[in-house]
C-alpha cells in the first residue's frame, strides 16, 4: 500500500496460564494447580513503546496445611497481584526494557500464606537480542521497597524447529539461571525482608515447550496455544523451599497457556 503507516500502534495482549507450580525468581511460591490470567496493553511509536499490565495469581485447588501456598491453608483464591509498567526501545535485533513492578499479596499469613507485609516494589532493566538460533536475555532486578537488593537473571530461548505451514507450530527450549547479588539477609538492616538465603546462583532451570498459532482473528490479531514442561535445579535454600519444613533440590512441573494478541503487534507476525 502506498499510504504511510500509522504513527502509533496500539496492541493488547491477554494470557491465561495454568500449571503445577508458581515460580518467581526461582522461588516456588505455590504448588498444586495455579492459574495466572494477565492483561497488557502497548502503545508503540516507531522504535519506542510503552507497556503496562497486570498479572493475577490464583490457586485453584484447596490448600491443605503444610502445602506450599501464597493464600494459606484453606485458600482457593487470589494469592498475588502484580502491576507493571515498562518502556522499551528496539535497536535492530536488540531490545532494551526498563520498568517497575508492584507486588501485592492477598494471602493470609496466619494460615501460612503470604500477606500484605511482603508487598514490595522492584525496578528492572533487561537487554535481549534475537538471532537465528540463540535468543539471550539478561535481566537486572532491584527491590526498592522491602528487600532492597539486586537479583540477576540470564535466560536463553532456543527454537528447536518451526512448522512452516499454517497453523504454525514452534518447539523451543528455555534455559534460565538466577544470581542473587543483594536480596539475601542483611545483618546491618535486620528490619528488611530477604528473598534468598545467600549470595550466588539461586537456581538453574530447563524447559521444553510447544506453541501452536491457533488462528488469526479476522486480521486483527492472533491466538496461540502453548504447553510444556519445566524443570529446575535449586541452589539456594530459599529456592529449595517446597512448603513448611520441606525442601526439594529439583522440581519439575507442567504448564499450559492461551494467549490472544490484538492490534499492531498481533498483525505483523506469521
Amino acid at each position: 500500500m502506498a499510504a504511510p503507516p500509522a504513527a502509533a500502534q496500539l496492541s493488547a495482549r491477554t494470557d491465561v496460564s495454568a500449571g503445577g507450580r508458581y515460580v518467581w525468581h526461582g522461588i516456588s511460591r505455590a504448588a498444586g494447580l495455579v492459574a495466572q490470567p494477565s492483561l497488557a496493553v502497548e502503545l508503540r511509536a516507531h522504535r519506542l513503546s510503552l507497556q503496562s499490565g497486570a498479572v493475577l495469581h490464583y490457586e485453584l485447588d484447596r490448600v491443605s496445611s503444610g502445602e506450599l501456598s501464597e493464600t494459606g491453608a484453606g485458600g482457593r483464591h487470589l494469592g498475588e497481584e502484580d502491576l507493571w509498567g515498562q518502556a522499551s526501545v528496539d535497536l535492530g535485533p536488540t531490545r532494551l526494557h526498563a520498568g517497575l513492578v508492584r507486588y501485592v499479596f492477598r494471602g493470609d499469613s496466619g494460615t501460612g500464606g503470604v500477606g500484605s507485609a511482603r508487598n514490595t516494589t522492584e525496578v528492572f532493566a533487561s537487554l535481549s537480542t534475537t538471532g537465528r538460533y540463540l535468543n539471550p536475555t539478561l535481566e537486572a532486578w532491584w527491590d526498592v521497597d522491602r528487600v532492597r537488593g539486586a537479583f540477576l537473571r540470564a535466560s536463553l530461548d532456543l527454537p528447536v524447529l518451526g512448522w512452516p505451514f499454517p497453523p504454525y507450530a514452534f518447539v523451543f527450549v528455555q534455559t534460565e539461571m538466577g544470581l542473587n547479588l543483594g536480596q539475601g539477609p542483611d545483618p546491618a538492616r535486620p528490619g528488611e525482608l530477604a528473598n534468598f538465603a545467600s549470595r550466588g546462583i539461586t537456581h538453574v532451570s530447563l524447559g521444553l515447550g510447544t506453541e501452536v498459532r491457533a488462528g488469526r482473528l479476522s486480521g486483527i490479531g492472533v491466538t496461540t496455544l502453548a504447553f510444556g514442561a519445566r524443570s529446575q535445579l535449586n541452589a539456594d535454600d530459599a529456592t529449595r523451599v517446597d512448603g513448611p519444613g520441606r525442601t526439594r533440590d529439583f522440581v519439575v512441573w507442567l504448564w499450559t497457556g492461551v494467549t490472544i494478541v490484538l492490534g499492531g503487534a498481533g498483525r505483523t507476525g506469521q
Binding site: M1, A2, S11, A12, R13, D15, S17, Q36, S38, A40, V41, E42, Q51, G53, V55, D82, W84, Q86, S88, D90, R95, H97, G99, V101, F124, S126, S128, T130, R132, Y133, L134, N135, E139, D157, L158, P159, V160, L161, G162, P164, F165, P166, Y168, F170, F172, V173, Q174, E211, R213, T224, A226, G257, T259, V261, A265, G266, T268, G269, Q270
Partner: protein
Amino acid sequence: MSGRRAVLLQAAAVLLVACGPTRLRVPGALSPAPRPGTTAGALQAGFARVDITPPPGVGLAGNGPEGAEARGYRLRLYARVLVLADGGGNRLALVVADLPLSSALLHRRVAALTARTDGIGADRLVIAVTHTHAGPGHFFEAAGYNDQGSSVAGFDPVMVDSLTARVARAVHAAVADLRPARVAWGSRAVWGATRIRSLPAMLRNIPMPTALDAPAGLALEYQLVDPELAMLRVDQRESASGAFRPAGAFSIFAMHGTGNAPSNDLLDADIQGLVERRLERHIDPDGGFVPRAVYLFANGAEGDVSPAWPPQSRCNVPTLAPLPALDGPFTRTLWEWRAPTATHLASCRHAAREAISVIGKRVGDDAVALFDALGAALTDRLQLGRAFATLSLRDNAHALGICAEPALGISTLVGADDAHTRIQGWLLFGLFDLGFKQGSPNPNVPGCQAHKRQLFDAAFGGLPNHLFISGNLPSYAQVMVLRLGDRVIGAVPGEVTTTAGRRMREQMLASARGAGLPVSDALILGHANGYLEYITTAEEYTAQYYEGGSTIYGPGEAAMFGRALARLAASVSAGDSLPAAAAPPLDLVVGHQRQVVPRKSAGHVPRPRIERVWCAGDTLYAWLQLGGAAEWAVTTGDVALRPRVEVVVDDATRTVVSWDDDPALEMRLRSRRGGLAWWELSWSGVSGRTYRVRIPEVAESDAVGCAMP
C-alpha cells in the same frame, strides 16, 4: 449396544469423516470414435482463450510454505486452446493454462464435458500449464499439493468447478473456431535465458552431459540446458477473403515459471506470460486489449531448468524469532516466522520484475523470429494421432519398476534454488546438521527409496513418511503421446529433468520409427494432465538435490516413463476409440475442503468509481471501487473485450499507456467492505507527463501530473 452409545459412535464417525481429507472418485471420459467427414477438407485449426484470473485470497502455489496469499494481480491468467482436426474427424485439443501445476482432476473434469459436447475426451485432450508460481492452487489431484502447495491451505471445489467450466467452454469455442489451416513445425535454440539449477546432480549422469552447440563464453550451467524452442505455427483461412492469415502458435520450451520471487503476492503469468503476449502482439498488433492471435507457450523438460534470474531477485525467507508482542516482565515468549523487512522485499521483488522483463523479451524475440521464419514452410498436411494410458502407480509399482510407496526427501522441504524455504540449512540448536539442505543423500536408507533422506528418518526410519506424507501424494499418472505431423510429443504429468527428457525423447523416437511412423523428432511436454512432482534419472536421484528428493516414486521413475512413452509412441492411432481401461476411475484424496475462493459479493454492485489518483516517485496510484468482493477478473469466464481499468495520457488523443494486463501495473485489493472490492492501482511506468485513470465507458479521473522519475 444401547441406542445412546450407537448415536454417540455414529456422531464420532461423522465427525472423523468431516475432519478428514476429501476423497473423490473421478471417472474417465474417453473420446467417442471420430466420425469421418464431419470436418470438410484437410487440416483445420481453431483457437480460443479464456480468462482464469481468480479473485484475491487464493494461495499462490508452487513455492510451498513461501507461497503467499494473492493480494491482487499483475498479468492476467489465461487458458489458451488450440484444437486441430483432420479430414478423418480426428480432433486433438491442446490447452496451455497460466497455472502453477497441472491436475488430473481438472483434466478429467474438463474431458467429461468436452467428450459430450465436442467429441474430445481424456485421450484427445491435453491440459498443460506454464508452471507460473504466481498462479492459484486448491484444484490439484493430491492432498499434499492442496494443503501444502502454498501458505493458504485447502482444496476448494469452487476453484475446480470454475476452472473446469472456463476451460471446457474455451475448448468448445476453439472447436467452433475450426477453420482450414496451414501449419509449419520448426525450432530454434535460445541460449542464455535458462540455466541448470542443480548442476552437481546433472553431472552424475552416465555418460556425463556435454554441451555440443552452446555459444562460447557461457557458464557450464547455461551450456547444458536444452535450448530448443519448438514451435508449430498455425495460419487460418479467413472466411471473408479466403486467404490464410497468421493466427497463432503452439510451442514447447523448458523453463521454470519462477521469474517472480517467492515473496511475490500477486497473481501473474510470469515470464511465460510476457513471451505469449510478445508473439500475440506481433501477429496482431492492432488487436486491442486482447489480441485475436493466440500463442500457447507450453513447458518442456524443465525439471532442473531455471530462468536466468539474478541472485538479488530472491528474497530472504522468514526466520524463526520471538514475537516482540508485549513481552512484559512476566509474559511468556511468543514465537513467529518473522518476515524480512519491507525495504528488502521491495528491492528483491523489483529485481525479479526486471529479470522477468528482460528474459521475457529475449525469449519472446526468439519466438517472433521463429514464427516469421516458419512462414515459408506452411503446409495443410498434418497427420494427427494419439495414444493414452493411465498408470496406477501404487497398485502396479512392481510391474512398473518403481517404489510402491511414494516418499518425499528432505531436499523437497528445503526448496529449490529458485525458492528456498525457511527451513533451508536449519541446524538443531545451531550445531547439529539434520540434513535440511540439498545434495545430502542418506546412504543408510535401505530399500526402494535408497539414498533419499527423509524427515526425521535417523530417529524414526520411514514411519513419518508412512504416517503423514505418502497418503497425501498422487497415485496415478496419465501419460499421452501425440502425433502432430512428423513430431511425436510425450505429455508427462510432472517435471522432467533435462537429461531424463533427452532419454525419453530418444526412446520415443526410436519406438515410433520402429512402428513405421515417419517422424523426425520427439518432444517432451511437461506439466500435462496431472502432477507427480519431479522425474529425475536414477543417477540424479542419488544426488538428492531438490529434484531427486521430489522424485516421489524412487529412482525408477524416469525409466518407467521412458518405457511408457516408447510403448505409446508405437501405438499411436487415429480414427478409433480407446478401450475403457485407458482411463479407469481415479480414486483421489484431495485434502481438506475449505472455502478459499471468496464467495460473497454484495447483492447490488454499484457502478465502479475512482476515489483518488496521485503520483509518488515513479509510480502513479489510484484507489478504485471495482466490482463485487468475490468477483473474478472476468466474471463470465470469457475474455474481456476491454480492460477493467487503464491509464491514459491527458491530452486530446487520450493515448492508452497501460491497463490491467501490464507487467508495470499492479492491481492490489485494499479491502472488501459491504460485499464490494476496493482496489489500489499502482503503475510504475510514469515518464513525467500528466495522466488520467479511466474505467472504460464508466469513469475517468481528474488529471494528475507526475514528475519525471
